[in-house]
């Protein structure tokens, strides 16, 4: 689909207008900061640990769609596929620091790491306590013994949900850091792409893939995956992807998990449900217990055709924070 088939105004104002729309849709619950690149909750209690998420834009509703009750307190947005700049991160950090410090939670990419680190140094000079948890849930992006080289993809959502709950209930940054790290360590994901999205500013597809092929492990920006093949049936793709996830943590009989089947852009709800059907069959065969299931567009790459599967393994502590009701643009749980 050519770039011209997207509904935008000025290409250079995509991110600002997206966040403006989001703040308006919140009916007063969220507000924009001066840079127009950060969204924060309108009312934040004193002494609460701040939870700041963010990254490059282009993956909507990630990240700003997860700012809200018992979720993140703020999200910062870079340009499309580019990590946010340090000034914006600092602006949001100051806005949500209530004296208890701020946890930075984001996907593990070179650009994000460096920009958030620069911001953390700047915030420290302002005497704001900062801790950082980088999310590296994509099992396709590096071997397990190089886990800190892995990319962060849709599993971000699980970590944000647990960390949001922890930040709401726990008073100390160290404790929130500990729980968020545990949620990160218990999360695994993998994606598959069948067709590229287009990068709006250039109108070019983010990768090339022959008409009858797909690629398992493809990243959110078109980063290469682990296995390119002819298109497979829904069940066969799910089998392959789930087995890569299960063996990685590893997940075992008796484990209790949350499952996310996430559309990367233009994969239909029907396809996601058909994929979920097979995931559910496999997990039950393996003796896992499914605590919660999310199916939909949570973390995208423009109109990429494809999806990702994420699993979060719960323990009593994680379940407690996961189960808190949440309310944001893209995630509501009663």
């Amino acid at each position: 689909m050519p770039n011209s088939k997207k509904f935008f105004n000025d290409l250079s104002s995509i991110v600002d207008e997206t966040l403006d729309g989001l703040a308006r849709a919140s009916n007063g619950k969220l507000r924009l900061l001066d840079s127009h690149r950060a969204v924060i909750v309108s009312a934040m209690p004193d002494h609460k640990v701040g939870l700041l998420i963010g990254g490059g834009s282009g993956h909507e509703p990630l990240f700003a769609g997860y700012v809200g009750k018992n979720l993140a307190d703020a999200a910062v947005a870079g340009n499309i596929f580019a990590a946010p700049t340090p000034d914006i991160i600092v602006e949001a950090t100051q806005a949500i620091d209530k004296g208890a410090g701020v946890l930075y939670l984001y996907g593990n990419y070179a650009g994000d790491n460096m920009n958030f680190d620069i911001a953390a140094e700047m915030a420290s000079e302002m005497n704001i306590l900062i801790k950082t948890v980088r999310i590296w849930d994509d099992v396709a992006s590096a071997a397990l013994d190089h886990i800190t080289d892995r990319r962060g993809i849709a599993g971000d959502l699980f970590v944000v949900k647990v960390a949001g709950g922890a930040a709401a209930l726990l008073g100390s940054l160290d404790e929130v850091y500990r729980v968020a790290s545990k949620a990160r360590d218990n999360t695994r994901s993998i994606g598959v792409a069948a067709a590229a999205g287009t990068f709006p500013e250039t109108g070019k597809p983010t990768f090339e893939l022959p008409d009858d092929e797909m690629e398992i492990g493809m990243g959110l920006h078109g980063e290469p995956g682990v296995s390119r093949s002819k298109m497979m049936t829904a069940d066969a793709v799910a089998n392959d992807m789930v087995s890569r996830i299960l063996s990685d943590l590893p997940f075992q009989a008796g484990d209790e998990v949350c499952v996310l089947v996430n559309d990367l852009g233009s994969t239909s709800s029907a396809e996601l449900l058909i994929i979920y059907r097979r995931v559910d069959q496999i997990l039950h065969q393996r003796g896992l217990k499914i605590h919660d299931t999310l199916i939909g567009s949570y973390c995208t790459s423009q109109e990429m055709a494809g999806f990702s599967i994420s699993l979060l393994k719960l323990d009593d502590e994680l379940r407690k924070y996961y189960d808190l009701p949440v309310d944001s643009l893209a995630l509501v749980k009663g």
Partner: protein, 211 residues
């Protein structure tokens, strides 16, 4: 006929030439990033150097250091992504020990060397990892060996060293940044950041020679 050294104002003008050149290179840089990254490098550099143009037009500078920090800060606060942090750091940290008024071969060497150290500290990459360092590192070495020469004599050789370094990235397997998961598939393609590093030096040289 080129210049032995540049004044603050001449350096500012040279950096405007660099900015215009980088903005005009948007297409080739994005194309290079599309081959092994996410295709936004040119868009980012163009955004960054547009911010640089604005800052250079708006301000007067009383020292080279202030000038380079302004450039670095403009890049860092507008590009985002890996290259915003990296090229921002190069200019901001490369600026710290510059002489006040005269941009000479020695100043060039200080800029590249201090910048190199800071970029390595920030990004934890090494030469050979297929990043902009593979152009920056040989350029810095070359500049250090040429501090005795006039700027207009040394700078072309620094550019040549960067070019050799950039070319060499084609034979490297990426191990940093977005290209790293490409592994062997990154072979044959140059690193987009290394191209940018080369172009910055090339446009700077063109400006210096034209004075």
């Amino acid at each position: 006929m080129g210049q032995v050294s540049l004044t603050i104002r001449q350096t500012r003008d040279a950096l405007l030439v660099v900015a215009a050149g980088m903005i005009a290179s948007e297409g080739i840089l994005s194309e290079a990033d599309r081959a092994i990254g996410d295709g936004d490098h040119g868009v980012g550099m163009a955004r960054g150097f547009t911010a640089v143009e604005k800052k250079l037009a708006e301000n007067e500078f009383s020292s080279l250091s202030e000038l380079f920090i302004t450039v670095g800060t403009a890049l860092m606060m507008s590009i985002g992504g890996a290259s915003g942090a990296i090229f921002g750091t190069l200019f901001r940290e490369g600026a710290r020990n510059l002489p006040a008024n005269e941009f000479t071969s020695t100043a060039l060497s200080i800029f590249l060397n201090d910048g190199l150290i800071a970029v390595q500290k920030r990004g934890k990459a090494n030469p050979g990892d297929k990043t902009m360092l593979d152009a920056l590192f040989p350029a810095a070495k070359s500049a250090a060996a040429l501090i005795e020469y006039p700027l207009d004599v040394g700078l072309p050789q620094v550019v040549a060293a960067a070019e050799v370094g950039m070319e060499a990235t084609k034979n490297m397997v990426a191990s940093m940044g977005r290209a790293k998961t490409l592994g062997e598939r990154s072979l044959g393609y140059p690193d987009p950041g290394a191209i940018s590093m080369l172009l910055i030096l090339r446009f700077l040289n063109e400006a210096a020679q034209a004075k």
